[in-house]
């Protein structure tokens, strides 16, 4: 179906189901219970899951397939956001012109940066992309303020032209009248589910671009990209020039990032310069590697993991802890709170750092490998596979480096 193999089709269907059911799946705990703190099914976070998922999927097309590690993808995210907000300011709150412009602008930007940076490889390439992104950030924060509104972030003012706005148009981002920040809430016996227009808009786009990335992974183009990662020299010898392919991958992933940035501004009509900082570029690298670079689903998992920590763990404070353990005797309660204290609230960075290290140390293939291991041990496939390997490949290749 849709040009996919049977296995991929069922995978895609599973992804579609998971994405559409997210508002339910992320609310496992009833409202008002102590564990409701861990629910993530509110519009803003779900939107972020989808948007950063798109960002990471795009990044993975470059990094996962070609092995080129870009440290400057946040620049495209920022360009996308600025494009969308400028379209709000000039035309109207309809997100479509902005998103189209975001993809075009980030594509052009990626073409320029990619054309220059791809003249080098390895860490030299990484530093070139980092340099471009940091230059964009620094300039956007200061000299380019007329264009970006600097520190404050680009936003819509009442005296902006907005030529396509009339009295009936919604005064916040919308898709032909479907207002992004509207949602319907359903209360089912204590569980509160929020179905948000904006989330579904992002989710549908995410599914479409996920499908596209699947096609890219399976296409001859994708195989060509993998060849670049495996052995560029050998590819050169066969008479193929890898540059156009890498550049194409770079531009595609830049457009994914621009789309993600555009969607961020579609959910929330403000574009801040921090989106272009190196920490933001680093974040998508972490998401991809943490989830499992080169796998289809990994980057999305990584994106969800990091965003979940940022938004849920940072909000647990001592009062919340005391609330959870209030049933315990006072001394014990205080001791437990004291024990947890460094890891929650203002200490969420510490928890995240420790988890990074644990995942990288014990799961070299990222979260996706963890998932596979659990799955294999549940189904017992591991043992069978090991036997298989023992039969056919007596020794793993020794010269892998």
């Amino acid at each position: 179906m849709l040009g996919l193999s049977k296995k991929d089709t069922s995978f895609l269907i599973a992804v579609i189901f998971l994405t559409l059911a997210t508002p339910i799946l992320l609310q496992p705990f009833p409202e008002g219970s102590a564990l409701a703190q861990f629910n993530a099914g509110y519009p803003d976070l779900m939107q972020r899951f989808a948007i950063y998922g798109i960002f990471a999927i795009g990044f993975n097309i470059l990094f996962g397939l070609t092995g080129y590690l870009s440290f400057g993808h946040a620049a495209f995210l920022g360009v996308g956001s600025y494009s969308v907000v400028w379209m709000y300011k000039l035309l109207s709150y309809n997100v479509v012109p902005g998103l189209i412009l975001a993809i075009i602008m980030s594509g052009l930007f990626a073409l320029l940066i990619g054309y220059i940076s791809l003249r080098r490889s390895g860490i030299y390439f990484s530093i070139l992309t980092l340099a471009f992104a940091q230059m964009s950030f620094n300039l956007a924060y200061s000299v380019l303020t007329p264009l970006t509104n600097g520190e404050t972030g680009l936003q819509v003012y009442t005296d902006d032209p907005q030529v396509l706005m009339d009295a009936a148009s919604p005064s916040s981002p919308h898709f032909f009248g479907i207002v992004m920040n509207e949602s319907s809430k359903i209360d089912v016996g204590g569980w509160l589910f929020t179905f948000n227009n904006g989330y579904y808009f992002c989710a549908i786009i995410a599914i479409v671009v996920f499908y596209l990335s699947m096609r890219i992974f399976r296409s001859p183009f994708g195989i060509m990209l993998r060849a670049i990662k495996t052995n560029q020299t050998r590819m050169n010898y066969t008479g193929l020039n890898p540059r156009p392919y890498t550049l194409a991958a770079f531009v595609i992933s830049g457009m994914y990032a621009g789309l993600a940035g555009g969607l961020l501004a579609s959910m929330d009509p403000l574009a801040g310069a921090e989106r272009m900082q190196w920490t933001a570029s680093g974040e998508v690298v972490l998401m991809t590697i943490l989830g499992g670079a080169g796998t289809l689903m990994g980057p999305i998992l990584g994106a969800g993991f990091i965003k979940y920590f940022e938004n849920i763990f940072s909000k647990i404070n001592d009062t919340v802890l005391h609330g959870w353990f209030s049933a315990l005797p006072d001394g014990l309660e205080d001791a437990i709170v004291f024990l947890f204290h460094p890891f929650i609230g203002k200490g969420w960075h510490l928890t995240l750092g420790l988890l990074f290290m644990l995942v990288v140390i014990f799961l070299p293939g990222g979260l996706i490998e963890g998932g596979t291991r659990i799955w294999n041990s549940v189904t017992g496939r591991n043992r069978k596979k090991k036997q298989d390997q023992g039969d056919h490949h007596p020794k793993p290749a020794a010269h892998v480096n």
Binding site: R120, Y124, L350, F356
Partner: protein, 343 residues
């Protein structure tokens, strides 16, 4: 002309911090082939060695002084450092004042140990893993180190002044025939520059003129062969990691009076130091030092009013602009070798 001399002096000083950090980073990369994103954190730990030394020297006992009141109207608690009560006011205060230079003695063993533990406990397991994994795990480690420091010392910068005799500045202009106050240069920055020159020369001399250094250099060139010759190269590389950590730590200790240490100062230097290392050429020690000073001086020039009015915002991007130009004209940085970190 005087403005240019002034900025060259400034640049040399900025550059000496960059060069020291980049030197340590390159030592680790050149010997072990590991991209260490926690190197900025080591620099920060060094600065906090100075803070800790200051804390140790000002360890105090508290007496309540009923004649004075604190902000709540309770009797004021007056802290008197033990040093002051043991050695008298002047000697005690003088010792406290010298806490930053004294911290050097304290920082060397601490940082060697930190480096050793880090290499044996964590980095060792990552030699065969891809660079991306090394980056991720050391980045995670950097966050953890940073958060631990934040937990104990808070997020606010902590003032760590230099000894009184190094306060104020040298009127360098007068020495070379300019009017008063045209070229001034703080004494402590002069100390920092000389200090870094000594450390850099010491590292180079160590690698060039000692047997240990020779073996390490041989190991950098061809690890396998050196191992086959029956030399325990791993042990030596571990020691090199410790030395690199100590170099970063010392850079941090001496930097404490220039800018009050805070827990995220390592991250501020991280990106910059990688740019320096790459511009110098991956794995090249002289390249790292050269690039450090070059970028320091160029950064200083870019902050001159004359230059800024010509190209607005140039000081925001100069480092990156230079990096791009150098990498496009010299594919492996200033002094990089072919084939290092290019795949």
């Amino acid at each position: 002309m005087d403005a240019i001399i002034l900025q060259i002096l400034n640049g040399l000083d900025k550059g000496s911090a960059y060069a020291l950090i980049a030197l340590g980073l390159t030592l680790i990369f050149g010997t072990l082939g590991v991209v260490n994103f926690a190197h900025g954190a080591l620099f920060m730990l060094g600065s906090f060695c100075a803070v800790t030394m200051q804390r140790i020297l000002t360890l105090s006992y508290t007496i309540e002084d009923p004649t004075q009141k604190d902000f709540l109207g309770n009797p004021l608690k007056v802290d008197t450092p033990y040093l002051v009560s043991w050695f008298g006011e002047s000697t005690g205060q003088a010792l406290i004042e010298w806490s930053v230079p004294l911290a050097i003695l304290f920082a060397i063993p601490v940082m060697l140990l930190v480096g050793y533990v880090m290499e044996r406990g964590l980095i060792k397991h990552f030699y065969k893993r891809p660079h991306a994994d090394q980056i991720l795990v050391t980045f995670g480690l950097a966050i953890v180190i940073q958060e631990i420091i934040k937990y104990f010392y808070g997020a606010n910068p902590i003032p760590t002044p230099a000894p009184d005799m190094f306060k104020g500045s040298l009127d360098f202009g007068v020495l070379i025939g300019y009017a008063q106050n045209t070229i001034i240069y703080p004494y402590w920055r002069l100390v920092y520059f000389l200090f870094s020159a000594v450390i850099i020369s010491a590292v180079f001399a160590f690698l060039r003129f000692t047997t240990f250094g020779m073996v390490v250099r041989a190991g950098m060139a061809d690890r396998e062969t050196v191992g086959l010759l029956g030399i325990n190269i791993d042990k030596r590389f571990t020691i090199m990691f410790g030395i690199a950590a100590a170099v970063a730590g010392l850079a941090g200790v001496m930097y404490a009076p220039i800018n009050s240490p805070n827990y995220h100062m390592g991250m501020d230097f991280l990106v910059l130091s990688f740019v320096v290392v790459v511009v110098g050429g991956m794995g090249s020690l002289p390249g790292a030092v050269l690039a450090g000073f070059l970028l320091g001086i160029l950064e200083s020039f870019a902050s001159m009013n004359e230059v800024k009015s010509l190209i607005p915002g140039i000081d925001q991007i100069i480092i990156y602009l230079v990096a791009i130009i150098i990498l496009l004209t010299r594919p492996r940085g200033l002094m990089g070798r072919r084939g290092v970190m290019e795949e």
